[in-house]
Symmetry: C2
Subunit: 341 residues, 2 copies
Amino acid sequence: MAVKATSFDIAQLAGVSQPTVSRALRGSPTVSEQTRLRIEAIAKQLNYKVDKNASSLRLQETRTIALLFFEDPTPDETGINPFFLSMLGSITRTCAQRGYDLLISFQQLSSDWHVDYEDSRKADGIILLGYGDYELYREKLEKLVEQETHFVRWGFAQEGQPGTTIGCDNFRGGLDAARHLMQHGRKKIAFLGDASSHYPEFQDRYRGFCEAQGGEGIIADPALQVDALNAQDAGYEAAQQLIARGVPFDAIFAASDTIAIGALTALREQKLKVPDDVAIVGFDDIPAAGMTHPPLTTIQQDYKRAGEILVDSLLKQIRDEHATTAVLPAKLIVRQSCGAL
Amino acid sequence: MAVKATSFDIAQLAGVSQPTVSRALRGSPTVSEQTRLRIEAIAKQLNYKVDKNASSLRLQETRTIALLFFEDPTPDETGINPFFLSMLGSITRTCAQRGYDLLISFQQLSSDWHVDYEDSRKADGIILLGYGDYELYREKLEKLVEQETHFVRWGFAQEGQPGTTIGCDNFRGGLDAARHLMQHGRKKIAFLGDASSHYPEFQDRYRGFCEAQGGEGIIADPALQVDALNAQDAGYEAAQQLIARGVPFDAIFAASDTIAIGALTALREQKLKVPDDVAIVGFDDIPAAGMTHPPLTTIQQDYKRAGEILVDSLLKQIRDEHATTAVLPAKLIVRQSCGAL
DNA sequence: GATGGAGAGGCAACCGATTGCGCTAGAATT
DNA sequence: AATTCTAGCGCAATCGGTTGCCTCTCCATC
């Protein structure tokens, strides 16, 4: 059985021509039921499977979607960002349900990803996943649009961006996080997370955070903001730095759960009690968020729904329907770390 | 640019025949350097990419690997098992380094996965990942072997199994976990995890656990063993059940970190202090293990190395070299939950 | 008996790249 | 000058399905 059966083998056994086999297996009405059943039986017996390469070549359609991960600015050797990993699960499942295969790839932001998968016809469309300075790859996105590549991007959504973007309401999430802390009596809330350009998502969370505290456009006390990339050790160091500044604070809003978890460790080391001394709220609701001590209050991004929408938007584009940029709601998940319970 | 350039377009522009384009781009020595450079320039300008379908069809090689995940017996809506998710990261990176693409798919154990990817020529080989009762799919593995499909499996490795299996030394891991607890004065150690047939890996961990306590073949006190599937709530319930039995215990060895984390919650609810009242050791060293309170002592499965070995074994088979079943060492990672620090 | 129509299926072109074989022109050899 | 060689490249077949178009057969209809 080293050599796989082709439709010719089946045709011969069934006493029909090869095209008839193809038609029968695709359910063409021009093949009689009797013939079709015979062909199907033989196909099953020979363990025949349509050669997807040949089929895709002819049909110019692969029924495959490519998922491109961008590395974080700090390629964390410990693995993929947990939130994206969860998203990956959802995307995989959704693809399976829709009858599409999923091709996965890691990319450096600097690489030539923009001419890869769809151009080489391995996929019908592309999902882009990854944080990163939007301006760094705006040009590439524009090239994708110009090439009429089908793609959707997860991230900071804004009018006028090239292509379709699906994102979470980061601004609202930041707003809700800060308001929640304020409602429970916190006055001096620190922000841990890169508020500059690396992560537009973080910027937006920070803007919401500021708005809750001062109204539109007001920037919160810079003494209470510490840059941190999206990694646990970055969160740890940022919290240490915050403490070292000596500026009093009674709460932390971390731009991601990963940062928050790192901060928890630093706080514990400094004998600061969470939530009594310092309340803390994260962002993402990664699986580990419910397992920390105390369990982390956070802003949930609905990765399950996000994955579905990403896939379905892409499929719409592939079918030449219009897909719109969308913003998903962010939801406050109250656990113990904020002191509200 | 709606229509993608083919090698014919390039041939025309370069004033050569289409086959020459193909040869030039593959670096054939029969094309003069001058011609090759000209062709390469035009190809780049047209943003030309070799059509992988056509290429794969002709070459009978896809340079793609398929990864098949099996669902846990309890399809946990919260997502993929964290350990496999980490492994996925490693596999993805390794594939990229080796110049292979990765196709991902979820499968129910009951489905017809055994005739899928390689047969339909979407991949050159398959990696099987997932816990599960080995006997449930022995037949399918045998069929894969019979069909001369290239595949490797992650899991319980045993001589005489069909195909190549890469696994971790679960027995040794269980042994080390139990010994470590005993060395730190624990006398009555409970085991949380399905010791029956669902997870052969768990069985093996349990056997090692028993051996440490009584010598070969001796089964530990059944009153101190509670079945649990590989999920957090299962761990939570198992720990509750254990406590409810009223049998005294001063330590827990959980068959996975996920179970251990669920157990931690249950212990905390019962005001049992970890590690003072109850020491606990998990298995896997998932990312969340270091973030629990207290941080979880666990047996590390080196997912990074495992992913590399899985991919490389598979590539060996694809190159028609012999790949051997291998067992990777398990390593005790001491954190606070065991009370040793 | 001639005509029409429909059902069933065959023929051949095609998708785009790869490769064995053969051709040609110029260089090298005698 | 005739012959041999070889670098460089073209021709045509091939990978396995898919599909537009045409053919053939059989039955219904006038």
